[in-house]
Amino acid sequence: MEERTNPEVITEPAFEFEEPRLYGLMAEFEEHEQLLAAARRAYAEGYRRMDGFSPFPIDGLAEALGHEYSEIPFFTLAGGIIGGLGGYFMEWYAMAHLYPLNVGGRPLNSWPNFIPITFELTILIASFAAFVSVFLLSKLPQPHHPVFNVPEFERASIDRFFLCIEAADPKFERSATRQFLENLKASKVSEVEE
């Protein structure tokens, strides 16, 4: 594998043509392997601001686009720790401090009895964190996005695979990028309007 470098500082390219502005160029593929190969080629070529779109998850596609790992496990773990500690604290504080009930001299901090709720709250908050972080990190819900302006993009949720290189990429150049995408055996290359 070629060496991966951090994306350079992104500067807004100057657009001399009038509205609507160009968001990027989108190549359409018929098979998921073609998209995966195209993403690897584009990354090797130096493109960084790009995204792949597919109707089902493709193993290794996000990694090929330079997104090495997902941040979800961290948030899930944090949620689990908060849920577990918080759950135990709630039980202990309520049972031992706010409403202590002496039943035959048994300890107020009766930890074995506190385990089920601690466990349930660990799972609850961890799951909630996992779910919410998927959508917040992906900036969803976002009802509209420039890629939806391409009429063929309807099939991104059915049976077509797309690679979109954004105009904001420092290496983006309208005709050169189009040429590059066409060489990748794309069945069609379309312009994405902002």
Partner: protein, 471 residues
């Protein structure tokens, strides 16, 4: 992810319409001619085009009329109190808790299929997980109703939740009944999140296939603007796997906690350490049976045989056979431990269970749950959907009867003969039970009408894996 599941050599069989593996089991996980576009059209076509409207309207009307019965029963209950049911002292739990345990058990199949089988790389779960997860949600909704209605004053149900109230009171966190509140509400929430996370990409498919403005807007809102971005998919898949991992211990804990409601009490017939595993096995047993009871007619009516193949039916039947034997082991151990403990109350209770006034119900339970399901040893039964439907029905009824025996018979026969009393259900008991079935089926009908009931994106994954030669 690499797997050998489904990659066995397959040969055509002159007796059967599908290819089989060398052991003679059905081989196909998805029809051989399927393409991405075909599965999308077929599955998304059900909410969009509404095929078989006659079936749907008749079925929905039937279900909804039972739901109205439920509304009537609950209204009368709220007006008059729990005295309209047959419950008394000592049988204070009656139908309400029987129904609760039955419904929550049914709800276990969804998470078992979607989470545990996901972690075990069982690819045949792909085409049924959406449906069973939805079934879980509806079953848990029905289950949750019963303890609340049984409270006597359901309008103060929020006293079960921990919040700093003006009375300075807290729920008793050491009580299994409070654990239940947390377990069931966590289970519902996590199942809902898991289900919705899976359904979002498919709602995007429906949005993109919709041709009318309102459908586009409605499904578009529900799909949250999903566009299938690779980075989003990466997060989605990580979270899906993590939720599967979190839901796995959860599903085992929920019915264990439900069983603590019984086993922590000192009543003969309840006070037993076999309860948690035996309840969990029973839950999966009845859940799979309910899945088959719902899925077999729907598979035929909507022509989904190409997606829900004989292989899926066969595998589900195998799981039922295995869990059925775990449940049977539980029954044997209950009887054995009652004898082996030497405790006269336990022994008397077990004798009363089999030969007392409720003995005939016990033997019905044994027939429905332990004898009839032995038909599943036959491959012919496992791959014949009609036979399988009736075996599943027997298990569903049997599991309800099992909960009835555990709840009612044990309570009716406690330590002191002077407090023994038999329980007779009233019309309102039956109306609430049938009504809850109506509520369940109403939700189920709405689901198959408006939401893609099979995971489209995961079906596409199966097709992609077959193209790569991994399936």
């Amino acid at each position: 992810m690499e797997t050998i599941q489904g990659s066995e050599p397959r040969t055509p069989d002159p007796d059967r319409p599908y290819p089989v593996t060398t052991l003679g089991y059905p081989a196909e996980m998805i029809g051989p001619k399927e393409t991405y576009a075909r599965v999308s059209d077929q599955i998304a076509g059900i909410p969009l085009k509404h095929p078989n409207p006659k079936f749907w309207f008749i079925g929905f009307t039937f279900a909804f009329s039972f739901f109205l019965l439920f509304c009537a029963a609950v209204t009368y209950l709220l007006a008059r109190g729990v005295g309209i049911w047959g419950i008394q002292i000592p049988v204070a739990w009656g139908f309400a808790i029987t129904n609760f345990v039955w419904w929550i058990g049914i709800g276990h199949a969804g998470t078992f299929i979607s989470a545990i089988l996901l972690l075990l790389f069982q690819k045949w779960r792909t085409t049924i997980n959406r449906f069973t997860e939805a079934m879980t949600l509806f079953a848990v909704i029905c289950a949750g109703m019963f303890p609340l209605l049984h409270l006597g004053r359901p309008w103060v149900f929020y006293w079960l939740l921990p919040y700093p109230d003006t009375m300075a009171l807290w729920p008793q966190f050491r009580s299994p009944l409070v654990w239940d509140v947390f377990a069931v509400s966590t289970y519902f929430t996590v199942s809902l999140l898991f289900w919705y996370l899976g359904v979002v990409p498919d709602l995007a498919t429906v949005r993109d296939k919709a041709r009318t403005r309102w459908k586009k807007i409605t499904y578009g809102m529900a799909a949250l603007g999903w566009r299938g971005s690779a980075v989003h998919w990466q997060r989605h898949q990580t979270a899906y796997l993590l939720l599967g991992g979190l839901a796995t211990p959860l599903v085992l804990s929920v019915h264990s906690v439900v069983s603590f409601d019984f086993s922590v009490a000192q009543l003969p017939g309840w006070h037993s350490t076999i309860f948690p595993p035996y309840f969990v096995a029973g839950a999966i047993y009845s859940g799979f049976a309910m899945v088959l009871n719902l899925l077999i007619p729907i598979r035929r009516i909507y022509g989904l045989q190409n997606l829900i193949t004989e292989r899926t039916l066969n595998n589900m039947a195998c799981v039922m056979l295995a869990t059925g034997w775990m449940v049977a082991y539980g029954y044997i151990m209950e009887a054995f431990m009652a004898w082996y403990s030497g405790d006269p109350f336990e022994r008397a209770e077990m004798w009363d269970r089999a030969f007392g006034p409720y003995g005939w119900i016990f033997w019905i339970l044994m027939t429905l749950n332990c004898v009839i399901p032995q038909l599943l040893w036959s491959r012919r039964v496992r791959t014949n959907d009609i036979a399988l439907f009736f075996v599943a029905l027997s298990i569903n009824l049997g599991m309800w009867v099992e909960r009835f025996v555990i709840v009612v018979q044990s309570l009716s026969h406690d330590f002191v003969p002077s407090s023994w009393k038999l329980y007779t259900p009233t019309f309102w008991d039956a109306a609430t039970l049938l009504g809850s079935v109506g509520l369940f089926l109403t939700l189920q009908f709405l689901f198959i009408r408006y939401v893609p009931m099979i995971s489209i994106s995961e079906s596409r994954e199966l097709i992609a894996q077959r193209k790569e030669g991994k399936l």
